[in-house]
C-alpha cells in the first residue's frame, strides 16, 4: 500500500489557495485552531507569518502549503484523515480568505486499520522549519 497522506484537499480549496497566493504574492501555510468562535477550523496565513515550534505537529504538505496543528491537539486527531475544503461564510480571525466571503474548513474521515499502518510520518513544527 502506498503511503497514506494525512491531509487532502478539494478542488474548490485549491482554487482559493491559488487566488490567495496571487493576491499576497507569497506561499501560504495552515494552522488548525482549537477553541471557541472560529476555532476548530484551519487558519490560513502567509508562510512564516504564524510562528510554529516544538509544540506543533507538521501533518504534511497540502497543495504546497505546510499544515500544522498543536501537538496536544494532534493526539486526538491522529486517527483521522483530514480534507481541506471551503464553504461560503463570514468568519472572524486573521485567516486570509475571510474577506472573500468564504471560509476554509476541515472534513474528517477515520483511517481504516490498514491505512493506519501506512501513514505519512509527522514531525514537529520546529523540525519542519529547520528542514527549510
Amino acid at each position: 500500500m502506498e503511503v497514506i497522506k494525512r491531509i487532502l484537499i478539494t478542488d474548490a480549496a485549491k482554487e482559493v489557495i491559488d487566488t490567495l497566493r496571487k493576491r499576497f504574492g507569497s506561499e501560504l501555510m495552515f494552522h488548525q485552531s482549537g477553541g471557541c468562535c472560529d476555532g476548530s477550523s484551519p487558519m490560513c496565513f502567509e508562510k512564516g507569518e504564524f510562528k510554529v515550534g516544538s509544540q506543533d505537529t507538521w501533518l504534511g504538505e497540502v497543495y504546497r502549503c505546510d499544515f500544522f496543528m498543536s501537538a496536544d491537539q494532534f493526539e486526538y486527531w491522529k486517527h483521522t484523515q483530514l480534507t481541506l475544503d471551503v464553504t461560503p461564510g463570514r468568519g472572524s480571525s486573521f485567516s486570509l480568505e475571510i474577506p472573500m466571503g468564504i471560509r476554509f474548513m476541515i472534513r474528517s474521515k477515520l483511517f481504516t486499520s490498514e491505512e493506519l499502518e501506512n501513514l505519512n510520518p509527522v514531525t514537529s513544527g520546529e523540525e519542519r522549519l529547520s528542514q527549510g
Binding site: 468562535c37 463570514r90 486573521f94
Partner: protein, 508 residues
C-alpha cells in the same frame, strides 16, 4: 429521526436599520478610507440586512490617533465623572433595551428571549457595576521608615486594543469596554466580522455622552483591520476573546512590541452530575436536568458551553431519560418569535462546521440520543442556519468530546467513582468552565476544588454576574473579566518612593 418542537408565536417586527454603517472614530461616524463596505448577513434567513465599513490600516491609525488625543483628558478625568459616563451608557441601553435586543437577534441569530433576559440586562448591569467600583477605588501608601514613604499608584495604561467575538456581540464588547473606560483608558474596539452592526447602533445612541475618542469602533476583516490594530506600536495592551490560533498570533504581535495581553480562548466544559443528584425526583433534580440541557443556550455558541455531560453510571438511565426528553422539547423557530428557545447558528461556515462534527461523531461511533442533523425550518427560514439540539453518547477520547464544536451538541459519558469523574473532567486541553451538581456537602467543595477550570458552577450553570471573576486555565487563556480586580488589567503601578530625610547617604 427526532421530530422538532416548533415555537408558536409570530415573530415580532425587525428593528429598522440603515443601509450601511461607518466606523465610529473620535466621536463621529467616519467613512472607511477604502470607501468599501461588506454585507452583514442575518443568520435568521441567510440574507444580507445591512452593510458594515471595511476597515483598514488607515482607519485603525485614525482611531488610535483619536484615542491618544482623548487620553490626554480622559486619564485625568475624575472617577466620579468616568462613573457618570458609564452610568449614562447603562441608562441609554436600558431605555433602548427592546430595540437593541431585536437588533442583536437580527445580527447574531440568537433567540430574542435570550437577548431580552440575558444579553442586554447583563450589559446594563456591567456598566453600572464598573461605574460603582471606580468610585470606591484607591491606591496604597506605606511608611517604610520614619523618613521614607512608598506610594503605589494605579495609572491607566493608555490606549488599548480590544478584539471582540461574535457570540454575544454587545455583551462581549461591554465586558471589555467597561473596565477599560473605568480604569481611565481609551479604546479601539474591533467587532467580529459576523456581527458588526449592533455595536454601531449602540454608538449612535451614546455618541453624545462619551467624550470623543474615548471609545472608537473600527469594523472590518481580521487580516485587514484586526492585524494592524493588534500589531500597532501605539497601543499599550490587547484584549481578545476567540480561538487558540488567533490568540497565539496576537501574542506574537504583542511580543514584537512588548505589551501585555489577556485572552479567553474557549473550552470544552464538563458538567458533572454526582450520584446524589437522583436521590429524589424533586425540584432540585429538575434543576439538574435543566442544567444538563444548558448546552443549548445560545445555540451552544458559548465558550463555556457545558458540552460534556459526565454522569454517575448508577443514575445514567433515570437522569438521561429526562435530559433527552427536555432536549426534544426545546422550541426552535424564528429567532424573533417570543417563545423560540433556540435560534440560528451565527453564519454558514459555523453551521457547516457543526454538521462536519455531527458526521465525525457518528464515524467515531458516538450514538445520537436525539438530534444529530440540521433542522429543516420553513416560513422563510429555509436558508437560515439551524441545527437540531443533539446529544451524543460516547467516551472522552473521541474528537467530539475534545474539540469545541460551538453548536448545540453535548456529549455524554459515565463514571464510576469521584476520582474518575475528576480525571475525565480534567482530561482536556481547556479549562474555562465546569459544572458540579451534588447534594453531598463534601463533594460540593472538594470536587470543584480539584477541577482545573477558572469558573466552576456549583449546582447551577451559565450565570455571569458582575463581581464574579471569569476566565480560563490551560489553553483557555489567561486574564479575567467581570470583577473589579480586572481594573488592574488596564492599569500599571507607579511606585513613588519618597524620602523626607534632608541628610545625604554618605556614598559620594
Amino acid at each position: 429521526m427526532t421530530t422538532l418542537t416548533l415555537s408558536e408565536s409570530k415573530p415580532v417586527d425587525r428593528p429598522s436599520v440603515k443601509a450601511q454603517y461607518d466606523h465610529f472614530i473620535g466621536g463621529k461616524f467616519v467613512a472607511p478610507s477604502s470607501g468599501e463596505y461588506f454585507d452583514n448577513i442575518s443568520p435568521i434567513d441567510g440574507k444580507p440586512f445591512t452593510k458594515a465599513a471595511r476597515g483598514n490600516k488607515e482607519d485603525v491609525e485614525k482611531a488610535i490617533d483619536a484615542a491618544h488625543e482623548a487620553f490626554k483628558t480622559w486619564s485625568k478625568t475624575s472617577p466620579a465623572e468616568r462613573s457618570r459616563v458609564l452610568n449614562k451608557i447603562a441608562d441609554i441601553m436600558e431605555e433602548n433595551l427592546e430595540m437593541l435586543a431585536r437588533l442583536e437577534t437580527l445580527d447574531n441569530g440568537k433567540a430574542l428571549r435570550e437577548c431580552r433576559a440575558a444579553d442586554l440586562p447583563l450589559c446594563i448591569d456591567h456598566f453600572r457595576y464598573f461605574a460603582g467600583v471606580i468610585r470606591a477605588d484607591e491606591s496604597s501608601i506605606s511608611e517604610h521608615d520614619e523618613h521614607t514613604v512608598s506610594i503605589a499608584l494605579h495609572e491607566p495604561l493608555g490606549v488599548v486594543a480590544q478584539i471582540i467575538p461574535w457570540n454575544f456581540p454587545l455583551l462581549m464588547a461591554t465586558w471589555k469596554i467597561a473596565p477599560a473606560l473605568a480604569a481611565g483608558c481609551c479604546t479601539v474596539v474591533k467587532p467580529a466580522e459576523q456581527t458588526p452592526t449592533s455595536i454601531m447602533v449602540l454608538m449612535e445612541l451614546i455618541a453624545d455622552v462619551v467624550p470623543p475618542g474615548v471609545l472608537n469602533v473600527v469594523t472590518g476583516f481580521g487580516v485587514e483591520a484586526g492585524k494592524p490594530l493588534a500589531s500597532s506600536n501605539r497601543i499599550a495592551k490587547v484584549s481578545f476573546t476567540g480561538e487558540t490560533t488567533t490568540g497565539r498570533l496576537i501574542m506574537q504581535y504583542a511580543s514584537e512590541n512588548l505589551i501585555p495581553v489577556t485572552m479567553e480562548l474557549g473550552g470544552k466544559s464538563p458538567n458533572i452530575f454526582m450520584k446524589s443528584v437522583a436521590d429524589a425526583d424533586d425540584e432540585f433534580f429538575d434543576k439538574a436536568v435543566e442544567g444538563a440541557v444548558m448546552f443549548a443556550l445560545n445555540q451552544g455558541e458559548v465558550c463555556t458551553c457545558p458540552s460534556r455531560i459526565l454522569v454517575h453510571e448508577d443514575i445514567y438511565d433515570v437522569f438521561m431519560e429526562r435530559v433527552v426528553e427536555r432536549t426534544k422539547a426545546i422550541k426552535m423557530g424564528h429567532p424573533l418569535a417570543e417563545d423560540t428557545m433556540m435560534g440560528a447558528q451565527a453564519s454558514n461556515d459555523q453551521y457547516e462546521k457543526i454538521l462536519s462534527y455531527l458526521d465525525i461523531g457518528k464515524q467515531e461511533g458516538a450514538v445520537a440520543l436525539c438530534g444529530g442533523e440540521r433542522a429543516d425550518l420553513n416560513s422563510g427560514l429555509e436558508t437560515g442556519y439551524y441545527v437540531k439540539p443533539t446529544i451524543f453518547k460516547g467516551h472522552n477520547k473521541m474528537r467530539v468530546f475534545q474539540e469545541e464544536i460551538f453548536g448545540p451538541v453535548v456529549c455524554v459519558t459515565t463514571f464510576k467513582t469521584t476520582e474518575e469523574a475528576i480525571a475525565i473532567a480534567n482530561d482536556t486541553m481547556y479549562g474555562l468552565g465546569a459544572g458540579l451538581w451534588s447534594r453531598d456537602a463534601h463533594e460540593l467543595y472538594q470536587v470543584p476544588r480539584a477541577i482545573q477550570a477558572g469558573r466552576v458552577w456549583v449546582n447551577c450553570y451559565h450565570a455571569y454576574p458582575a463581581h464574579a471573576p471569569f476566565g480560563g486555565y490551560k489553553k483557555s487563556g489567561f486574564g479575567r473579566e467581570n470583577h473589579l480586580m480586572m481594573l488592574n488589567h488596564y492599569r500599571q503601578t507607579k511606585n513613588m518612593l519618597i524620602s523626607y530625610d534632608k541628610k545625604k547617604l554618605g556614598f559620594f
